[in-house]
């Protein structure tokens, strides 16, 4: 990958929410890149800022949230400072989006065919008939049976899993090179979740689409991603190849996160637990944000904030790593 321009590059991204009681720093110094066709997982607990990162990339930050620093580059071109209309043209055409709840991302008043055809014709120079043929093909690809008939049905006539397939078809409609998928399987039952994950993985491979997959579910990450970024309190604390982050986590937060997941292949009387809870945005501790909950905290952690440092195959924001004292998994 050396030398090649990454498909997406995020450099030192900062997102702020101005409020009456001062400015809240929601994302701080977020840097990562996604190569063409790569699947990057972004994992973290509620409030870590993972969805916000996705929203910043597709230019859909809810006001008053705003990008206060850093830059986002799509194939080498800056997109974080584009005017609304230009960003609108990129959204859908070059970056597709899949959201958690398939019912709210589809318009209940239009047939799914109309929504697909509209999306296709907005971004691609095709006729109504060509767009319809393409829509049917997309629905077939996403595994919707009897696509020719179902294309004229409304979202409420589809089950949850089928709706999410329609949303995936919509995201792929204009052949974007990147899809931002925010918790695409969270609202679904386990058996349907497995279907949607394998569908997403297969389609992106076939179309050569890169994915930024935002989820709280480590299982989904393990099944789908090439690399993973672990977020905590608005920062990336560890990033690296999935297998390394899962089997040999370096950051104590990642270690705790992995240990707190009940495993299917071992018996433990008690789960490893991280005491306490993630800090609120208005009370982020000084130094490393994880230090009050960290079992391996020492003096430097309280005063100085660690950057992402090389830790074998992964990079982790932890002073223990800098000292060569790898945390014990």
């Amino acid at each position: 990958m050396a030398g090649a321009v990454p498909l997406l590059e995020v450099r030192h991204l900062r997102v702020e929410f101005p409020s009456r009681r001062g400015t809240l720093l929601a994302l701080d110094d977020i840097s990562f890149s996604i190569a063409p066709g790569e699947v990057l997982g972004v994992v973290g607990e509620s409030g870590a800022g993972k969805s916000l990162t996705g929203a910043a990339i597709i230019g859909l930050l809810d006001p008053p949230g705003r990008i206060a620093g850093g830059e986002i580059l799509l194939a080498g071109q800056r997109i974080d400072n584009l005017p609304y209309e230009q960003m609108r043209a990129i959204r859908g055409r070059r970056i597709g989006a899949i959201f958690q709840d398939p019912l709210t991302s589809l318009n209940p008043l239009y047939t799914i065919g109309r929504q697909l055809i509209e999306t296709i014709r907005t971004h691609l120079p095709v006729s109504e008939d060509q767009a319809r043929a393409r829509a049917v093909k997309l629905l077939q690809e996403t595994g919707i049976p009897a696509a020719e008939q179902r294309i004229d049905q409304y979202p409420h006539q589809f089950s949850g899993g089928m709706r999410q397939r329609v949303v995936i078809a919509l995201a792929l409609a204009a052949e974007p090179k990147l899809i931002v998928a925010d918790e695409p399987t969270t609202a679904l039952d386990v058996s349907i979740q497995a279907q949607i994950i394998s569908l997403l993985r297969r389609l992106c491979k076939e179309h050569g689409t890169a994915v930024m997959l935002v989820t709280h579910d480590m299982g989904v990450i393990a099944e789908t991603c090439d690399r993973v970024a672990v977020m905590y309190a608005g920062r990336i604390v560890e990033v690296g190849p999935v297998a390394d982050v899962i089997h040999r986590p370096s950051h104590p937060y990642t270690v705790g996160l992995m240990g707190s997941i009940p495993a299917m292949d071992e018996d433990r009387e008690r789960l490893l637990q991280i005491d306490g809870a993630m800090p609120r945005l208005n009370a982020i501790p000084s130094g490393c944000a994880f230090n009050p909950r960290c079992p391996q905290v020492f003096e430097r952690c309280r005063s100085e904030r660690p950057d992402l440092l090389e830790a074998g195959p992964t990079r982790a924001a932890c002073w223990r790593v800098a000292d060569g004292l790898r945390s014990v998994a």
């Binding site: 607990e45 509620s46 089950s159 899993g161 089928m162 039952d189 386990v190 058996s191 349907i192 979740q193 497995a194 279907q195 994950i197 394998s198 709280h216 579910d217 480590m218 299982g219 989904v220 393990a222 099944e223 999935v242 297998a243 899962i246 089997h247 705790g256 996160l257 240990g259 707190s260 997941i261 009940p262 495993a263 299917m264 292949d265 433990r268 009387e269 008690r270 789960l271 490893l272 637990q273 991280i274 005491d275 809870a277």
Partner: protein, 331 residues
């Protein structure tokens, strides 16, 4: 073996989901019923945990509500410590029984009154059941309960919104424990929580079970969590139990094709390269369940018999399973 603490026999609950009377007359629509729970039987031994698993709409939460008396059953019975909970029992007796079983709900944001202080939330069962009348004693007991779930005694004067999700679920647990129940029905107690917080709550629940000898009915859709907390597991599909087995047996040798499918659907977090068969199809509409075995349209082992004759839950080698293919030895 001693008598089980909770025994459920042929429990069924039917909901009337018909259109309003006028529509039925004008549009000639028939009455419609959903058989949310249809002939479920199980027993839970004292101090043990039975987990019910299944996908949305399989009736597991309805079973939970039937057990604590939030719904009354259409058919069948629930016996608690040898007494029928829905029978002719007089009110005083029923009240006494209610005190001995409590429920923890899924969403700690919805199950706590936002206008009440923790003191009132946790103290209510104590005053309601007349266990404590003295204000000083009440304060002491509430503080004790909060400490037992890992909260601080000083939290009594706070409101629910001042707590995180995991702390709120601890408040729910403290409230449920107030009357010193023997049996707790937990309906997806950790589904709304983050994994690290889920671990905290699961650890507390296990500690409390050990200290107080509690009996749990644990409802969940997460098989990894179920494997961690339970002693016995019941798998439900469209209102019926399809498999009931000891935890070790169920996870090492799942018999029912649906159980196998559920186990296959769990994301492989250790990336062991375990082969997975893709899951087929979706849960059918409970308004018009398939004939015969409700799982047959999705089942890779279904034959003509499966689509006509509904299999009964039968004992096979120490476990119970409702599947023709298993009893015939086809799988």
């Amino acid at each position: 073996m001693t008598a089980p603490l909770v025994e459920v026999k042929d429990l069924a609950k039917t909901f009337d989901v018909s259109a309003p009377w006028l529509n039925r007359v004008v549009e000639r629509q028939p009455r419609q019923f959903v058989h949310a729970v249809d002939g479920v039987s199980f027993a839970i031994q004292r101090g043990k945990t039975l987990a019910l698993v299944g996908e949305s709409g399989c009736g597991k939460s309805t079973v939970a509500r039937l057990l604590v008396g939030l719904y009354s059953p259409t058919r069948g019975s629930v016996q608690f410590d040898g007494k029928d909970t829905h029978g002719a029992a007089d009110r005083a007796q029923l009240r006494l029984m209610r005190r001995r079983m409590q429920m923890i709900f899924q969403d700690p944001y919805a199950s706590l009154n936002p206008r009440w202080k923790v003191r009132d939330i946790v103290g209510e069962p104590l005053t309601e059941h007349g266990l404590v009348t003295d204000a000083v004693e009440l304060r002491r007991r509430v503080a004790e309960l909060l400490l037992s779930v890992g909260l601080a005694a000083a939290d009594v004067d706070k409101f629910p919104h001042q707590f995180s999700g995991g702390q709120r679920q601890r408040i729910s647990i403290a409230r449920a424990l107030a009357t010193q129940p023997e049996f707790l029905v937990c309906d997806e107690p950790t589904s709304a929580l983050d994994v690290s917080v889920q671990a905290q709550v699961l650890n507390i629940m296990k500690d409390l079970q050990r200290q107080r000898g509690l009996t749990y009915l644990f409802i969940s859709h997460n098989l990894a969590v179920v494997r961690h907390v339970s002693d016995q597991v019941g798998v439900m599909y469209l209102g019926r139990l399809v498999e009931l087995a000891d935890k070790a047996e169920l996870f090492s040798r799942p018999r029912h094709p649906y159980t196998r499918m559920l186990l296959d659907a769990i994301p492989d977090i250790r990336m062991s390269g375990r082969a997975r068969t893709p899951v087929q199809g979706e849960v059918p509409n409970p308004l018009s369940p398939p004939s015969g075995c409700a799982f047959h349209p999705r089942c890779p082992h279904a034959n003509a018999r499966c689509s006509q004759e509904r299999p009964a839950l039968t004992a096979v080698a120490g476990i119970s399973v409702a599947c023709h293919a298993v009893t015939e030895g086809r799988i």
